[in-house]
């Protein structure tokens, strides 16, 4: 028996297989020999004695085998018990050791918590935005959001998601592409009247919208097919959050009436908690399209080819891929465009993913999420390298302690295990902190970079906890493995001698490598952050052409109230007068479009009948404004004059053009006094 085996027996470590066999053999051999000796002493011959001894014993081989098995069972049970005791012992030792070094624990825990917390947040964001469709949308692979792409000469490919109603109608009939097509329009409206009126986020939907998405009513029912009719009963479906907040709960909501912009809607159903529609936009109420769209788009909304307001979601026919559906729909749309002389003749339809952030040409939220995800992974790597370095330094300090363990016969694997247990404990502490960091940064993100997304309120749920737990294990292994292996390979004799140098060259090499990794990643992060700040400050200081500070945009919702164009004008005048009388208001003006919010383009013709070709960035954009527009907006009129009261209905038509437009239309000439013609389309607003 080797000294190691004797030592194992001495300290009651479980025997190894060969020791068990050796013991059994020794015991049986002793018995047989003693029996032989006794028999020989009684007068038997040696050979006979041996035979008799074996006979008395029974089946020696069988017994030997049985005893061997018993011994092994015993040994493995002991090993298991010892393993468990070892784990508990490791945990206890780790707690004791770590308690003596609170500042080290704090530094490591905070470092790791920041890294893990950022990743946990990004996991939730990426999961919610990029991996799942909007809540409660049943994605069985056949749903598609439709997008429309056009190649423009100056600006390349333009993607939009809105269409006109006639185009939608045409797409609905596309054979061989879609089993069902639904549309919606997300907008804001006023609920109530007078001083109680407040803004609500509504969706005008086709009656098949909710069933197509695979949503079932939480309470009540959804719209029926009859509601396609032109004069339907005004019914409404509300979201669960709205019902809880305003109507006293889902059950009580059924049957309540909602006065929205002049029409009284009866609530017939409540959607499941968390559902907001096909995209992640805040939604409170769903209304049938036919009941309210006319007020905003105009009474001819069903046949108006010029206004693209409707978003479309479709369920592809069985066995039809997105590409096939897109191709079929493109053909239909192009044919439609040609027969109606619309630019749809040049457009292609893309049957895109039902996950809104995966729109072609990338929705900004998706891209932001991915970038932030990459940044947080880098952060975590930096944190791990940092902590690994700290742990390595600590391991080197405790070299002598580890050497004593190794000299006592603790295996290298056991030492590694103990150190990893310590790292795991640090990881668990960091993980708990990380959950807190995740919640905080989650709230921060929702308020800043990722607004306008309808988040479900879920705070700490099971998926997040599991993710953080997995992170804890991964991080502990990454950060703790190198120091642990280094510890296990400590040269025992050198470490036990006193007065040794601090670390051989190989150890220093690893530490330098870790520092270099940290430095590189940190520089990458710093450069990225610097670029981000730079772009951000440039965006903030852009010359917008007007003075935004102190400007307030007011959008009165008069859709259902104004009876005629004249009535509309009078109401707007009254509103303007009331606003002017408010203290602190320097000027009020009216405008059809709002910078960054809306655009209105028309065909412009100069001399001859040549329509101006499309410009880079779209346009040519027009706006109809009242007199004080340029003073209120802070856009100086460079040449000529602004509008005055003299420019009313009946006086010669005048226009103010931008410098850019003047250069395009009349290059080299003085634009004052020149003429152009503006093509008249069917106007969407009551004004001429």
């Amino acid at each position: 028996m080797t000294p190691a085996d004797r030592l194992r027996r001495l300290v009651r470590l479980p025997a190894r297989a060969h020791t068990i066999r050796a013991d059994v053999d020794a015991e049986i051999a002793f018995h047989l020999e003693t029996t032989e000796r006794e028999l020989v002493a009684r007068g038997m011959s040696a050979v006979d004695a041996a035979r008799e001894a074996r006979r008395r014993f029974g089946n020696v081989e069988e017994v030997r085998h049985m005893l061997g098995l018993l011994g092994q069972t015993e040994a493995s049970a002991q090993r298991w018990g010892q393993w468990w005791k070892g784990v508990v012992h490791d945990m206890a030792r780790s707690t004791r050791t770590l308690r003596r070094e609170p500042s080290f624990v704090a530094v490591v825990a905070i470092t790791l918590a920041l890294g893990m917390g950022a990743n946990a947040t990004m996991f939730r964001v990426v999961d919610r935005l990029l991996l799942r469709p909007a809540p409660h949308v049943r994605d069985d692979g056949s749903l598609s959001l439709l997008y429309f792409q056009r190649e423009t000469t100056e600006f390349g490919r333009v993607t939009s998601s809105s269409q006109s109603y006639p185009a939608f109608d045409r797409l609905r009939d596309t054979r061989g592409a879609f089993a069902d097509v639904a549309g919606w329009w997300a907008t804001d409206a006023s609920l109530g009247a007078g001083a109680d009126a407040r803004r609500v986020h509504i969706n005008f939907v086709t009656p098949n919208f909710l069933p197509l998405l695979g949503v079932s009513a939480y309470r009540g029912r959804f719209f029926t097919a009859e509601e396609w009719e032109v004069q339907p009963v005004p019914t409404a479906v509300v979201t669960h959050a709205f019902a809880e907040r305003e109507l006293g709960g889902a059950a009580a909501a059924i049957g309540t009436v909602l006065p929205i912009e002049g029409t009284t809607y009866t609530v017939i159903g409540v959607s499941p908690p968390g559902f907001v529609g096909a995209v992640m936009r805040e939604s409170e109420i769903f209304l049938p399209m036919a009941t309210g769209v006319g007020g905003s788009i105009g009474k001819e909304w069903r046949s108006n080819l010029n206004v693209r307001w409707l978003r479309i979601v479709a369920r592809r026919a069985h066995g039809v891929s997105s590409a096939q559906a897109g191709a079929a729909a493109s053909m239909a749309l192009q044919h439609f465009g040609r027969s109606n002389k619309k630019s749809d003749s040049l457009a292609t339809v893309i049957a895109g993913s039902i996950i809104p952030a995966r729109a072609p040409d990338g929705a900004p939220q998706g891209r932001i999420a991915l970038w932030l995800g990459a940044v947080s992974i880098l952060l975590l790597l930096v944190a791990c390298a940092n902590v690994a370095n700290l742990l390595l330094a600590r391991t080197l300090r405790r070299r002598r302690e580890i050497a004593v363990h190794l000299a006592l016969g603790v295996s290298g694997g056991r030492v590694t295990r103990a150190l990893i247990a310590e790292t795991l404990m640090l990881g668990v502490i960091a993980g708990t902190l990380a959950l807190g960091v995740a919640l905080w940064s989650d709230a921060l993100l929702r308020k800043t970079l990722l607004r306008n997304v309808a988040w479900d309120s879920g705070q700490v749920d099971l998926r997040l906890s599991l993710f953080v737990a997995a992170l804890v294990v991964v991080v502990s292994v990454i950060a703790g493995l190198v120091p642990a292996i280094v510890a296990a390979r400590t040269p025992v004799m050198d470490a036990l001698k006193s007065g040794i140098r601090d670390g051989g060259s190989r150890r220093t090499g690893i530490r330098y490598a870790l520092i270099i990794v940290q430095g590189t990643l940190s520089v990458v992060l710093l450069v990225g952050a610097g670029l981000f700040v730079h772009s951000f400050s440039r965006a903030r200081s852009l010359d917008l052409g007007f003075a935004p500070d102190g400007l307030i945009f007011v959008q009165p919702q008069l859709g259902g109230i104004a009876n005629s164009a004249q009535d509309f004008d009078q109401r707007m005048e009254r509103i303007e007068a009331r606003l002017r009388s408010l203290p602190g208001v320097l000027g009020v003006t009216q405008s059809v479009t709002t910078p960054f919010e809306s655009q209105w383009d028309k065909g412009i013709m100069v001399s001859g009948d040549q329509l101006l070709p499309p410009l880079k960035g779209g346009g040519p954009y027009v706006n109809a404004v009242s007199n004080d527009y340029f003073t209120v907006m802070g856009s100086p009129v460079l040449k000529g004059r602004a509008f005055t009261n003299g420019d009313a209905n009946g006086s010669p038509r005048v226009a103010v053009v931008t410098e850019t437009m003047a250069r395009v239309l009349w290059p080299g000439k003085n634009a004052l006094g020149e003429c152009f013609r503006c093509l008249l389309y069917t106007s969407p607003s009551p004004r001429d």
């Binding site: 013991d23 015991e27 002793f30 029974g58 069988e62 018993l70 069972t73 015993e74």
Partner: protein, 110 residues
């Protein structure tokens, strides 16, 4: 010619070994020898079965085993009775007495 040796009833060997060890630690051979002498060779016990029983009882913590050295400096495995073993011995002895008296009552005085 000695009488045909009796075969031990199931479970009896355990109680005999336990009792044997109440007189101090013994190695396997010593246990076999003691049993032979005390029962005057009435029982036929294969030594192999004895060792199996010893190891089994060691596994169940009724016996504790330790390797030691005998008078001739040979390595021997000595078995000792544990507290659990003593408890088991008491229980089984009581059971045996009940068993014997019940049988005796049926068979009646010879």
């Amino acid at each position: 010619m000695p009488r045909d040796p009796l075969d031990l009833l199931q479970g009896t060997l355990d109680v005999l070994i336990l009792k044997t060890l109440t007189w101090g630690p013994k190695h396997g051979y010593a246990v076999a020898q003691w049993l032979r002498e005390t029962t005057s060779d009435e029982f036929s016990v294969e030594d192999g079965a004895l060792y199996t029983a010893l190891h089994r009882m060691e596994h169940r913590r009724w016996l504790a085993a330790e390797w030691g050295v005998n008078e001739e400096n040979r390595r021997v495995k000595l078995y000792t009775l544990t507290a659990d073993g003593r408890k088991e011995l008491r229980a089984r002895t009581a059971l045996w007495s009940r068993y014997v008296s019940a049988v005796q009552r049926v068979l009646g005085p010879a």
